[in-house]
Symmetry: C2
DNA sequence: TTTTATTTTTAGATATGTCTAAAAATTATT
DNA sequence: AATAATTTTTAGACATATCTAAAAATAAAA
């Protein structure tokens, strides 16, 4: 498995959970930031290796084997991100690109030992679930701040959106993992919220609230 | 810098310290386990990038720039090996191949943080010196067991030879880093030694003794 | 249901890194 | 100094992964 092949499998996996079964070359190309013709070439190769089902002009989707491999790469990516934040003191918005490289290191023993070293984490630094060695994702209650009633104390355990622009917004407001959040009031008109974070009041939009994953205290 | 280029620079660096200035394509090919014709191609490319001085039929050697880059890759390799042994509980004979991959991860911040996390180690798990961020190798006293007088307690801090076959020999005799060693007697004829390691007597050849790096207690 | 627009695939090119076999240069031997 | 042996380079090929531009297929519009 080359790095390029692994990146394709990961992209197809992610797009499948978003758009369902069959993916067009254009959608994959957009995700990987390449050209549709390159995607066609790669889909032929992955098809020969029985990692995707691909028929001309009909799009592609992962086989069981391709799915398993994609999940394995995703597991590696998230374990490395966890290592970078929890052990090396990186900020949560600095780790994605490095993990994008580290996810391609080939050694099952390494990942087993890293997993143990990290204490078998169930979520990466963005709160996203980490599949176990068998490829099974842990069940994580998805409680979002937008659903929390007023005056309930809760703790930030993840973000639905882990884009750089959103993480930077959170950083600028000193909102971090494990921040304590209390909803003070909700504006019915647009679902914007007045919340208390780190003993300071802050107004956030509904769009922000639906992207903050929390657990009640 | 591609992985292939980095591996070439590292190989040329190591060979230079062993054989001096100018290296033949054959010697490099043997080190990297490739063909001389491939080496010729790569030397041309590295020469264009001003990383090596290369003249047809005259061999090659590193420029300052090439030397610095080689040392940087070596630093990464040894820091990762240290991480694998000290943090992930790998055995010292299991880490080389994984480090061979990890050394190509591109991120200066990552290496700075890993270095700090490991406590700025001066030696890798085989006792080999780790250059600092400026590429300077720490001075390490090279006392070998072969030079230690009888009845002197010392501690194993490194091996001159870190090949798999030697490390496996040491493992089989329960000789590990930080083992306490006392020379009981030396046979003048062949420099073989009777030593006490971990409260057990053991006969080792002179060849073994000159490969064990120790400090007196 | 034709025509038009869009998507997808093919054809051909480029870049990297490797190989084999033949040619050229260097080194060693008579 | 000429010949032989060895080393090194070149020529040409292959595999991977990407691109542009043209052709083919599909989807949308008239
Ligand atoms: Mn990520
Ligand atoms: Mn990647
Ligand atoms: Mn090593
Ligand atoms: Mn390497």
């Amino acid at each position: 498995m080359s790095q390029a092949e692994e990146n394709y499998l990961k992209a197809i996996y992610t797009l499948q959970t978003e758009f369902g079964k069959s993916l067009s070359t254009n959608i994959i190309a957009a995700k990987i930031d390449t050209k549709a013709s390159s995607v066609t070439d790669m889909l032929k190769k992955l098809s020969l290796k029985k990692l995707v089902i691909y028929k001309k002009y009909q799009g592609a989707h992962l086989t069981k084997k391709g799915n398993d491999l994609a999940i394995k790469v995703i597991r590696k990516h998230r374990l490395w991100e966890t290592f970078l934040v929890n052990k090396l003191d990186f900020n949560w918005n600095e780790v994605h690109d490095i993990a994008e490289q580290l996810e391609h290191i080939k050694s099952d023993v390494l990942m087993a030992k890293l997993d143990a070293f990290l204490g078998h984490p169930k979520q990466d630094p963005h709160g996203t679930p980490i599949p176990n060695r068998e490829g099974v994702f842990p069940e994580i209650e998805n409680d979002y701040l937008s659903n929390i009633p007023t005056d309930t104390l809760c703790i930030l355990v993840g973000v639905k959106n882990s884009s750089d622009v959103f993480l930077n917004y959170l950083n600028s407001k000193n909102i971090a993992l494990n921040s304590t959040i209390k909803v003070l009031s909700v504006e019915p008109f647009d679902k914007s919220m007045l919340v208390e974070i780190n003993n300071k009041q802050l107004l956030i939009t509904g769009e922000v609230a639906i992207n903050l994953q929390v657990i009640k205290q």
